[in-house]
């Protein structure tokens, strides 16, 4: 029988080896799934993972990579802080929606004026919208000890209702012939968040995502805030002893992730989405949770994981068009990936050992500890 044995320290090798392995396992399991759906598994895998980058339509799909990855990375980077500290903001989707709503509302208040200041103002408003939405669960947890998981999630449903209300009501395009949805923000020069370098997909959201990754890296590696987050996540009592206020941490982490998610929403509504509409929210806030874990809650890992997840989105769409693969298959695929990752995580903190085999040589430190 195989038994688990705690490693003296988490294995660094396995920490970074498990995500690629999980991707590989997902590909195998996904292949089986596609085969079960009557598709050729190899073609499906190639369509999803290879063709978007190097296939015949790569010129069209490659820029999509950054466009899809930007919100994922931006949101996941923010989430990484909370998740590391044991603060579970799973309502990023709601904060993303609110960011888009407030940002768009502030921008549209100036329509049709043209000014270079409008877009930065919108970004700020978007970040603030997300932040305020995230402050609800944060403050409720700090003040009343309310579970932030449930509250932040409930607020996603509230936010999507707000979105529908805004798209049909206050933000509806007065010149839209009664169709739901706001004015097109892409077609208004002051708010348009277009490609900065044509053919790359690099818009302001992608720039913000890269900046966020670098900043988060710096915070985690060299700043007291990053240290406090890591310490609180590993040992809440040690963090309290070190003088880190749990309340400040909850507010800091939730606020940061809310602001980043709000910004992501704003960049999306002014760029790729173009307008506030009922179906604006497509689940980036939830996929970002997978991205955050797949990236090991590490900024650079999140960068890679975000790109990979964007690839599955684009590849999934291609597979849908070319192979008739159901859209939901990709969602399942992403869920599976997180499962495999969590399952294999056991290898980073535990060693597998066959029962009955003698223990390895006692190390001097352990022997002394036992005495």
């Amino acid at each position: 029988m195989i038994i688990l044995e705690r490693r003296p320290a988490p294995s660094r090798l396995w920490t970074w080896a498990t995500p690629p392995l999980a991707v590989l396992m997902t590909m195998i399991a996904g292949g089986l799934l596609f085969a079960a759906l009557g598709k050729d598994p190899l073609t499906a895998i190639r369509t999803i993972f290879w063709d978007p980058l190097f296939g015949p339509f790569a010129g069209f799909t490659r820029p999509q990579l950054l466009i899809k990855a930007a919100p994922l990375i931006l949101i996941a980077t923010g989430l990484a802080f909370g998740f590391r500290a044991g603060i579970w903001n799973i309502g990023a989707e709601g904060q993303y929606i609110l960011g888009a709503l407030t940002g768009a509302a502030v921008g549209l208040a100036f329509y049709p004026a043209e000014s270079r200041l409008i877009f930065p103002l919108m970004v700020l408003a978007g970040a603030l919208g997300g932040l305020v939405w995230a402050m609800i669960p944060a403050l409720l947890r700090v003040r009343f000890g309310t579970n932030e998981i449930l509250v932040s999630l409930m607020l996603v449903y509230v936010a999507s209702n707000l979105l529908a209300w805004a798209a049909l009501g206050p933000l509806r395009n007065p010149e839209g012939l009664g169709f739901p949805g706001s004015r097109n923000l892409r077609q208004w020069a002051s708010s348009a968040n277009l490609e900065l370098i044509p053919g790359t997909g690099l818009h302001w959201g992608a720039v913000a995502a890269l900046v966020a990754v670098c900043a988060a890296y710096g915070l985690f590696a060299r700043h007291v805030f990053g240290f406090a987050v890591r310490l609180a996540g590993q040992s809440p009592r040690a963090a309290a002893f070190a003088g880190i206020s749990p309340s400040h941490l909850v507010i800091g982490c939730m606020g940061l992730s809310g602001a980043l998610a709000g910004m992501a929403g704003l960049f999306e509504v002014t760029g790729p989405a173009g307008q506030i509409s009922i179906d604006f929210a497509v689940g980036y806030g939830f996929t970002a949770i997978i991205v955050a874990f797949l990236g090991r809650l590490h900024p650079l890992g999140i960068l890679a994981a975000g790109l990979l997840m964007a690839l599955t989105y684009i590849g999934g769409e291609m597979a849908q068009l070319q192979l008739g693969l159901p859209a939901a298959a990709i969602q399942l695929f992403q869920g599976m990936l997180l499962f495999f990752l969590l399952a294999m995580d056991v290898l980073t903190t535990y060693r597998l050992r066959l029962k009955g085999r003698p223990a390895p040589e006692p190390s001097s430190a352990a022997a002394e500890g036992a005495r």
Binding site: P8, H223, R230, Q234, F241, G243, P362, E368
Partner: protein, 535 residues
């Protein structure tokens, strides 16, 4: 000699990196009280867990009343007539007394009948219990009664008691002893595990002494002195800690009428605690574990804020300050639990050094950025000064042995030159004990102590910390069980000094120069809390 009730032959059990029991053999006679002695980590817990079916030994056999005894689970052990009273971890706070007892029985009668039986048995043995009460609301002594009654209801042939007196008041100990004697008269054999040599001398007729997982001696405790047995346990001569008179200075820490609720569920609120510590003085805080020592430490460290005027540092009211604020002013603490409170297990020593030293050692630069190089240098200094055995400062705290981590944690605070150092249970580390497991270890700690005394005036106090906490009235250092985990660390401390001082804190002054003052808490085996009483 009568035939043994339980015969243990050649029991061996190895864990990764540790051999807990090595070829252990001994006999327990029927209707006797048999002591199992040894320091923490000597392998006592593993051995009794094997007898109780919680651990499966790698090699060796056991015979219970002539039949082979190899329980695969506690249930099988109970069926064979073995019962065990645990030191910790075996009661359910949210459940009632009767429910707790039902859980420990093979075929419990319906709850109503069981309640009647509980009343009956508990009265018979002088351990009154109300079966309907919630266990979380009981005192430590009452909780132990629940465990004992749970065992007694099964009429065991062999009763194992793991550190039973660690949480009892002297009165409760007396009741326990008379219960145990009654049981012995009734024909039950008792395996009694303890560090408390005086208790063993009073109660047991035979003792098996373990050291490093091996049986090193068997004796009749009534014929040996506590000192002799202690020396058998540690395998070396015990030295009495030195003590010198020093002039004491001004009051640096004053606690006045400190009252605060416990932040924990089922915790102990602080009620009207007052004391003062002068520079150059060591103030001991005694008491049975769980009587507010932890809460007092939280109130001093700043993890728990208190009302104005209750805690003053050099005259300044610090009750509302955060741990960081108090640290900045020189009030440093070393909590009891090293991994998870005093240190983060999965962080490196450098990070753990930074954790509390960032302000006093100036380890952050403008904008809140961390000076990791400085932190590493500080960690290295702690490691060198306090002889922490580790490959380097980039090793995680988890990888250090208990004693080494303790040295690191205490050293971290001492090197920050505290005005006041609060230490909770400083001696439960494996490596920093007087006359430790091996003579070399003892010499080592003596040497470091000396070296430190030269370098750091006032840290000689920590040298004192490494020795048994002793009561002037007592001749021998008396081992004392720790609080917490099954086998957490070894220390021997005074048993009963604070009680003898009439419930008032007794002062232990220490050598060199003025500040820092030390306040250390050590829940003693007997006696009540220093400043407040159990309800």
């Amino acid at each position: 000699m009568t035939e043994a009730l339980l015969a243990v032959r050649g029991i061996t059990k190895a864990y990764p990196g540790v051999v807990a029991n090595s070829d252990v053999s001994f006999d327990i006679s029927p209707a006797s009280i048999h002591a199992l002695l040894g320091e923490n980590g000597a392998g006592k817990s593993t051995l009794v867990k094997a007898i109780y079916g919680l651990v499966r030994p790698d090699a060796g056999t056991m015979t219970l009343a002539g039949r082979p005894h190899a329980p695969a689970s506690p249930r099988e052990a109970r069926e064979a007539g073995v019962a065990m009273v645990f030191q910790h971890f075996s009661l359910f706070d949210a459940l009632s007394v009767a429910e707790n007892i039902a859980l420990g029985m093979e075929n419990p009668p319906p709850l109503r009948d069981l309640s009647a039986r509980i009343r009956e048995v508990s009265q018979d043995y002088g351990l009154p219990l109300d079966p309907g009460r919630t266990v979380g609301d009981l005192s430590a002594g009452e909780r132990q009664r629940v465990e004992i009654v749970r065992c007694l209801l099964q009429n065991p042939r062999l009763l194992i008691m793991d550190e039973p007196t660690s949480v009892l008041t002297p009165q409760e100990v007396a009741i326990l002893f008379s219960t145990l004697r009654k049981l012995r008269e009734g024909g039950t054999a008792i395996l009694y595990i303890s560090h408390k040599l005086e208790e063993i001398r009073a109660l047991c007729e035979k003792a098996t002494i373990l050291r490093g997982g091996r049986v090193v001696a068997t004796c009749d405790p009534r014929e040996r002195s506590a000192r002799q047995m202690a020396e058998m346990m540690v395998g070396g001569a015990l030295r009495a800690p030195a003590r010198a008179e020093v002039p004491v200075g001004e009051v640096v820490l004053a606690v006045e009428r400190l009252s605060a609720p416990s932040p924990r569920l089922h915790g102990m609120p602080l009620r009207d605690v007052s004391f003062a510590v002068r520079a150059g003085e060591v103030l001991g805080i005694g008491g049975v574990a769980g009587n507010g020592q932890d809460e007092l430490l939280l109130a001093l460290s700043g993890e728990m804020r208190v009302a104005p005027g209750m805690v003053r540092l050099k005259g300044e009211d610090v009750g509302a300050l955060s741990p960081s604020g108090r640290r900045m002013r020189g009030l440093l603490c070393a909590p009891e639990e090293r991994n998870g409170h005093a240190a983060a297990a999965d962080m490196t020593l450098t990070e753990n050094a930074f954790m509390t030293a960032r302000m006093r050692k100036g380890l952050t630069r403008g904008g809140g950025f961390v000076d990791w190089r400085g932190a590493r240098a500080f960690a290295t200094r702690i490691i060198e000064t306090f002889d922490v055995r580790t490959p380097g400062p980039e090793v995680t705290a988890r990888q250090l042995s208990g004693g080494n981590l303790q040295k690191f944690v205490i050293g971290r605070e001492i090197l920050q030159r505290p005005e006041v150092l609060v230490v909770n249970q400083p001696t439960w580390g494996g490596g920093c004990r007087c006359g430790g497991g091996d003579p070399a270890g003892a010499a080592r700690s003596g040497r470091t102590g000396g070296r430190r005394r030269r370098r750091q005036p006032g840290s000689g106090r920590a040298d004192g910390d490494q020795r048994p906490f002793r009561c002037p009235e007592r001749g021998a250092a008396v081992p004392r069980p720790p609080r917490g985990g099954a086998e957490r660390g070894g220390d021997r401390a005074d048993a009963g000094w604070s009680a003898r001082n009439g419930g008032r804190p007794c002062r232990l002054t220490v050598p060199p120069r003025p500040a820092p003052a030390c306040s250390r808490s050590a829940p003693a085996g007997h006696g009540r809390g220093a400043g407040h009483d159990h309800p």
